[in-house]
């Protein structure tokens, strides 16, 4: 596993974390 492999995994995880964080924020802020 080299730098590029970690970069790919980081990119995928980054998007996933952003989405989940955003969903949680929406849910807790009570926005409809």
């Amino acid at each position: 596993m080299g730098f590029i492999d970690y970069l790919i995994i980081a990119a995928g995880s980054g998007i996933a974390i952003f989405l989940l964080f955003n969903m949680a924020r929406e849910a807790f802020s009570g926005k409809k």
């Binding site: 080299g2 492999d5 790919i8 995994i9 998007i15 952003f18 989405l19 969903m23 929406e26």
Partner: protein, 465 residues
Amino acid sequence: MMAKIVVAALYIFAILVIGIISGRNVKTADDFATADRNIPFWTNVYSMSSAWIGAGSTLGCASMCYAYGIQGFYLAISVGIGAILASVLFSKKVREANVTTIPELIRKYLGNKVAAWISLLAIFQIFGIAASQIRSLGTILQMFIPSLNLLTAILIMTGVMLVYTVIGGLVSATKTDKLNISLMVISVMVIIPAISLNKAGGLHGFAATVDPSYLSMKKLGIGAMISSGLYFCTSNMLNSENFLRVCGARSANEARSASLTATFLIYIPYLLFASLAGLLGLVIVKNLGTSDSILPAMINTLTNDVLGAFLLAALLAAVMGTAASVTMLTSITVTRDVIGRITHIEDSKLLTVQRIVMIVVAGLGVLVGYSGSSIVSIMEDVGAPCGAALVPIFCGIFFWREKMNEKGTLITIAVAVVATLGYLAAGSPLGISHFLFGIICSTITMFAANSICYKPGVKQAEGEQ
């Protein structure tokens, strides 16, 4: 085995709870069909992504790279370009037209006769997609519980889909899509790449072990690649799965930006990750009989029961979002553009009629889906003329409206149908797909026929309802 059943049951339970709770306040036909045109931006981003990504895109991208090596990425790229074009060219203008179905949009600009023909074609096409997604729901549930027969599996999953969509329509669909897209992104963009990169020894390890022919651009002829790429790009421009979500956005600008955000943030990365998984599969699962099942095969090889079940649930989620979406669009189109045109339905009854039609459409979808994958592919073939007619007509009414007229458009539709089906019946002699041939003919016809039939000063149907 037990773990798989538990995970499948948990997924089904969660989808039902979210769908029923969020949909219980749906009171009007507009709530049902367009979520009262009030879908929040991010909710719509997730929902659009979940509707777009189905079994076809997930398994298809992986399968292409498993079959053709790095060249297989062309599928993800061309589908992605189609989605970008759809977002940029159509989404804002579709939302501005304030409609609910594709024929309604056409009726607004080109009158009743054109809309009637488009309804016929559109219903055939979207029903074909619905039937194939309903079949996929069953085949994926079978991966969890292999002893289940296909019909039972299809019936269980269609039943689950119907419960929450009949109650809550698009409102429930957009809420359950949050669960669907989370599962899909975590599985395909985090877990599968991490495990398979590790197993393959990273990209370097992969490049060292794989048969070098998979790293060349010679596996698939360039002509075949371009023709197939153009096909996926143009057919994806129509995006009927997303039509209701574009119509349900709060404003036209939001429709376009949500569609673009979904495309760049989720859809394209997801497709690239699915392709990467198929590529790495070349060194992880060797000599698989059919490339179509590479992703499920990798899940079986690489993971333990619990993790494998979670990844399979993501596949189920991918299909669920799309199946619910197209079944809903089919039934809403049938209700509003066929039943609603034949007899007048009062507003108070429209919601009930939509719900009943939804159950009937799903029932027919089960019948067609169960009767065989070959029938599904025949239906998709027959649905191709619709795409071949609609893509140029959409471009025409949005960017060339002045010259578009009823007669010219009717000729365009006729040419699209005859060219597409005729070319298919002749055995696709030019080496390009029948859809691509049809769309080339219909585009040329659209410009020629509308120019010839155009009479300056004759008012078109705009604003007529």
